[in-house]
Amino acid sequence: MSIEKKDLVKSIEQAYSEGYTYLVKITAVDYVKTVNVIYILRSLDKNQDKILECELDPANLSVETITHIYEGADWYEREMQEMFGVRINGRKAKRLILEKWDGKGYPLRKSFEWGKPYEKE
């Protein structure tokens, strides 16, 4: 299910109230033109998964945090921020998840060329 960026937190809150209380995964895909952020939510009662996809403009990569809804979202968000450069607004802890990477770019973006020698920023 595709959603707009501005509705993101609202629709996740709505999904939560519908019984999708379990967060399975937050991930992102770099389609070069857009970067899509994907939320996979699960309802344990209905035994159903719900996939929310949100297209972001690569020039302005940021989403609101959802840690106030799902506590477990924290690490996924930190990982996404580190790997894709998707800024998470409203996150308390500033430290990223993996150890500090001082190279250029974000590893899982398509612009990050694989196999190139390490280049310091």
Partner: protein
């Protein structure tokens, strides 16, 4: 009292790999634990984008080196879904047998490492590893490799089971059922063990769901979720599988669930052998070739009950290579819950909690 900050790891006898925990202590009581991960990050998700589909399984196996086949299978199943390849009935049962054997091996590793974390001079550890080695020998017999099997092929496995495999496996299961009683008597019923485990590291049901923990941690907190039951793949629905659920959410429940799951796996393997006799098709899959079928599903999502919890792969398919592969590593999210569980406990309990969460740091970092 002043708060002491100690740094545990990255190299420490009981961090199951290279994890670094920064622990704030008030006397001997934990105020805060902050796990620092990433020492084993290899960027598997990026590596895969530069390999054709069936080149990747060896990388996948190294994600979780305690249960390599399970992750391999998860990846191959994702590719199968993307390329729309069917798995024959016989191959399904064969995979179930191998995966459950792998699960037993992984759980034995868990039993060994937990007793070691609690400070039992290696007895449980040696016992667990001794029996795990027997399972590994069976798997070697079936797949040709002892630890990193790379035996999953599109639509099946790499070769037929050897003639003596069924007999040997059943013989092992008979032996192991008796042996499991030893484990229960020696470890699970040991009063000091119970004293150390019972009521320690409690994660209640709401927190478990909100934190998104998975696998045995979730089931020990009383959530009825096992992918094999709730979203059955292969022939699990025909095998009359019962997920094991306890409701205390403490260390002891997490340990007991594991032992119960071993028993369930033993039953599943026996059933599968029985049902496999009348199953159709061949268990051998396609050989690995440079040209694989064109993908038909652009986005494929597959989840599996790995030994350590629910694994999920989100794959965006390209012609020959995955465009993007994202994996939900079960231990990654279980580790995120560590701070919540360990707060307020003694330092000694941190390691029993860390142990019962069953960390494999390679899996956390990917």
């Amino acid at each position: 009292m002043a708060i002491t900050r100690i740094n545990i790891g990255p190299v420490h006898p009981s961090t199951h790999g290279v994890a670094r925990l920064v622990v704030d202590l008030d006397g001997d009581t934990i105020v805060k634990v902050e796990p620092h991960i990433g020492y084993l990050h290899r960027g598997v998700e990026k590596l895969v984008e530069n390999r054709i589909y069936m080149q990747s399984p060896p990388y996948m196996e190294k994600i979780d080196y305690v249960a390599p086949m399970a992750v391999d299978e998860l990846y191959v199943a994702t590719v199968e879904k993307a390329l729309n390849v069917d798995v024959s009935e016989k191959a399904s049962y064969a995979r179930i047998i191998l995966l459950e054997l792998q699960r037993i091996a992984s759980h034995l590793f868990f039993i060994g490492s937990v007793t070691n974390d609690l400070g039992q001079s290696f007895t449980g550890f040696m016992w667990g590893f001794m029996d795990r080695d027997k399972v590994l020998r069976l798997l070697e017999n079936a797949t040709g490799q002892r630890m990193f099997y790379v035996n999953m092929r599109l639509g099946g496995i790499n070769r037929e089971f050897p003639k003596d495999f069924e007999y040997e496996t059943k013989e092992f299961l008979d032996y192991f059922e008796k042996r499991l009683k030893d484990y229960e008597n020696f470890i699970e019923k040991n009063p000091i063990f119970i004293q150390r485990m019972k009521g320690v590291g409690i994660l209640n049901l709401d927190d478990a769901i909100n934190l998104g923990v998975t696998g045995h941690v979730l089931r020990a907190s009383g959530v009825k979720y096992d992918v094999r039951k709730n979203n059955p793949y292969y022939k699990y629905s025909e095998l009359n599988f019962h997920p094991k659920i306890l409701s205390d959410g403490d260390n002891l429940s997490r340990f007991r669930i594991r032992v119960m799951e071993i028993r369930e796996s033993i039953r599943l393997i026996r059933d599968s052998f029985y049902k496999m006799e009348s199953a159709d098709g061949s268990m051998v899959g396609m050989p690995v070739k440079l040209f694989s079928p064109k993908p038909t599903n652009k986005i494929s999502i597959v989840n599996r009950e790995l030994p350590r919890g629910e694994g999920l792969m989100y794959m965006v398919a390209d012609d020959k290579k995955p465009y993007r592969l994202s994996m939900r590593a079960p231990t990654f999210i279980n580790l995120a819950a560590l701070n919540k569980i360990a707060k307020g406990h003694k330092l000694a309990d941190l390691f029993s909690i860390f142990g019962t969460l069953d960390m494999v740091m390679a899996d956390v970092d990917r």
